[in-house]
């Protein structure tokens, strides 16, 4: 039984990681979005493996259902991104990889050198908070404040999206510099004279 669970875990993890790699590997943005959905499904399956049925269903409903559709809509409504050809920014990707790995090592090596790597599994707590009831109670009691702060966070994100995307062009017109304004005025005068 234990072995079976291990095998399933490895399979699901491979699916998640492989799909995630494909998200960044494919040229076509729509294909990327579809791979992302596959990755989300895998995470839902992981939740199921952990016996968190409610979380698994919520994951599929919200991420696979709502968010992916939103992403696809956003891609299709944007000009010129559905075609496969884009700019190549990664001609010297190996150099970037090397530098990033070195920077990462700067942080990780000092903490890891001389540490023991045998990690013992700690006994899990008795009270699981994976079910719908437990999660609801936790949100209203122990995690009340994070719950409220998350609400504020969402409101700010909403306001911010409106501020950035819903541009009232009449209000936010381009401000000319003095020189540009003078040039414009001169041109207008010329047009006037020609008429």
């Amino acid at each position: 039984m234990e072995l079976l669970i291990q095998i399933i875990f490895v399979l699901i993890s491979t699916l998640i990681l492989g799909a995630a790699v494909m998200v960044v590997r494919t040229r076509n943005v729509i294909h990327s979005a579809l791979w992302l959905i596959a990755s989300f499904f895998g995470i839902g399956a992981l939740y199921l493996l952990l016996e968190a049925e409610f979380l698994a269903i919520a994951q599929v409903l919200i991420y696979v259902g709502a968010i992916s559709v939103l992403i696809l809509f956003a891609i299709m409504l944007t000009h010129n991104v559905t075609s496969g050809e884009g700019h190549k920014f990664y001609q010297r990707w190996w150099l970037a990889l090397l530098v990033s790995l070195m920077l990462f090592a700067v942080i990780l090596v000092p903490t890891l050198v001389g540490q023991d790597w045998t990690i013992t599994a700690r006994p899990s707590e008795e009270s699981a908070i994976a079910g719908a009831v437990e999660m609801g109670t936790a949100f209203m009691r122990e995690y009340l404040l994070p719950f409220e702060i998350a609400a504020v966070l969402l409101l700010v994100a909403l306001t911010g999206a409106i501020v950035i995307a819903y541009e009232e062009r009449a209000q936010r017109r381009r401000i000319l510099t003095l020189a540009q304004e003078l040039a414009l005025r001169k041109q207008q005068q010329q047009n006037h004279a020609e008429e």
Partner: protein, 491 residues
């Protein structure tokens, strides 16, 4: 079915309630009652909201209590920081009042967003739980992404927002990953519980029991996320571009507020949760601080754009502030608080001068625009010179004392090499700060820059300059307060 109310004490989060409440009210008031051409009123109302937040802190003074299942705590450390954050937000709003309409980017939502960001600072100063700290950082980041892209017609502003968003998303990922690993090791996200776990582990430490490896990796990942927010080298790459592209008041706000809030949360994490594993993280943070001081100050030398130069200088200053954290002593935290106050006043003042020189739709950030300022606007030039001297750390300014305190704290904790690097980089820094002063007083004007001196901003600059001098001569005004905060934190 019985419904039990959770045991909470609303007083603990009173400043938080007031500031978020006023931000919410302001969003609605701005939408329905403030006419489109007159958004300054929203700004004044936001100032009132900040005032109420400050007043809400007064009855809490001296209180030391935690609530919401130990997630938030109110103590003198948090309240002192709140005062600094409110000053930062107030100055930011005042210097934006005339700037926004002049640049054609006036929108009422600007002021509530500043309040939300300040609310997240307050939250970060108070929280003692990793999840809450994460939410605070995210609230702060999302607000700043929007504010960075606020100067919509300017392409550089959009570019800055995009860069900040992409890199910030990575930083958020590191943070969550770190929390997950820490949870995997300790089975808790509460800072006090983590400390308990670690002391227990240490007392039972034998060869058979492994060290807290997962926790250390998690801590390193969390440190990466914090380094990104504070702009420590090598996670500072975004700083010059974002600081240059963002609207100038937002740059001023970011350069002092974000650093202060993120460092406050970092101090909580390292002093409450990780004091027993000091040997692992103090050297890492010390190296980061050293690299930050060197790269920030050397990078600033090459800049001819004053806004970019101040961006690099803010990277360098982040390194000095971190010295206060690395010292891991009561003096260190005291020095951190004083440095934050001094640096905030100075930097906000310097950015206010840049705003005054910034014309509509046109930037006046090149060094040439400062040439001959001493002839045309002597008072403005003197104020700018004072701010530059304070940033460079020349007595008798507040900046000098700030540097002195952090160096002293680091020296006491046996980090002599770090102090040496700090002193050397300060000497390098004097070069580019003095260059502006020389330009202002000893060069002829290159081109005519008409300063936009409104009453509000003139007063702000005057008050900031006065405060920089006042704290330079009488640091005791603030030091007493800072000392009490340290006792509250248990240093």
């Amino acid at each position: 079915m019985n419904i039990a109310f959770p045991d909470i004490n609303m007083l603990v989060i009173l400043p938080l309630i007031v500031i978020f409440g006023s931000a919410l009210a302001l969003l609605l008031i701005d939408l329905f009652f403030i006419p489109a051409g007159n958004k300054k009123i929203t700004g004044y109302l936001a100032l009132a909201g900040l005032l109420f937040t400050g007043l809400a802190g007064v009855p809490l003074w001296g209180m030391e209590e935690s609530s919401f299942s130990g997630m938030v705590v109110v103590d003198t450390f948090a309240l002192t920081l709140n005062v600094i954050f409110i000053i930062i937000a107030a100055i930011t709003i005042i210097i934006s009042l005339d700037y926004l309409p002049r640049q054609g980017i006036e929108q009422g939502e600007f002021y509530p967003l500043i309040l939300f960001a300040t609310g997240s600072f307050v939250l970060l100063a108070q929280s003692t739980n990793l999840i809450l700290i994460f939410l605070g950082i995210e609230l702060l980041s999302i607000t700043l992404y929007v504010l960075t892209g606020f100067a919509y017609p300017r392409l550089s502003s959009e570019e800055a927002a995009m860069k900040y968003l992409l890199l910030g998303a990575f930083a958020a990922g590191f943070f969550v990953y770190g929390i997950a690993l820490i949870y995997g090791e300790t089975m808790t996200v509460d800072l006090n519980q983590i400390r308990l776990y670690l002391t227990e582990l240490e007392s039972s430490s034998t060869a058979a029991v492994p060290g807290p490896t997962l926790l250390l990796i998690g801590g390193a990942l969390v440190l990466i996320a914090f380094s990104f927010k504070i702009a420590l080298v090598p996670f500072h790459m975004w700083t010059p571009d974002v600081y240059e592209g963002a609207p100038t008041p937002v740059t001023a706000f970011m350069s002092v507020g974000t650093k202060g809030a993120a460092l406050a949360a970092l101090i909580r994490i390292v002093t409450i949760a990780l004091p027993t594993v000091q040997d692992a993280w103090v050297p890492v943070l010390a190296v980061l601080a050293a690299a930050t001081m060197i790269v920030g100050n050397v990078g600033a030398v090459a800049q001819t754009n004053v806004k970019r130069m101040l961006a690099y200088s803010s990277v360098g200053h982040a390194g000095y502030i971190v010295l206060g954290v690395v010292a891991m002593s009561a003096h260190g935290i005291e020095a951190f608080l004083f440095y934050l106050l001094a640096y905030s006043l100075t930097n906000l003042g310097a950015f206010a001068v840049i705003i005054v020189l910034e014309q509509r739709g046109e930037s006046a950030w090149s060094l040439d625009d400062f040439s001959g300022l001493g002839q045309r606007q002597p008072m403005l030039a003197v104020a700018m010179a004072l701010f530059m001297l304070s940033l460079a750390g020349v007595p008798p300014t507040a900046g000098y004392l700030g540097k002195f305190f952090v160096f002293a704290a680091a020296w006491e904790s046996g980090l002599g090499w770090l102090v040496l690097i700090g002193v050397i980089t300060s000497a390098i820094a004097i070069f580019f700060y003095l260059r502006i002063i020389v330009r202002m007083f000893m060069h002829e004007p290159v081109r005519d820059v008409q300063p936009a001196l409104h009453r509000s901003i003139t007063w702000t600059i005057a008050v900031a300059a006065g405060a920089v001098l006042l704290f330079g001569f009488m640091p005791n005004l603030f030091i007493d307060l800072a000392q009490r905060s340290v006792i509250a934190l248990g240093g």
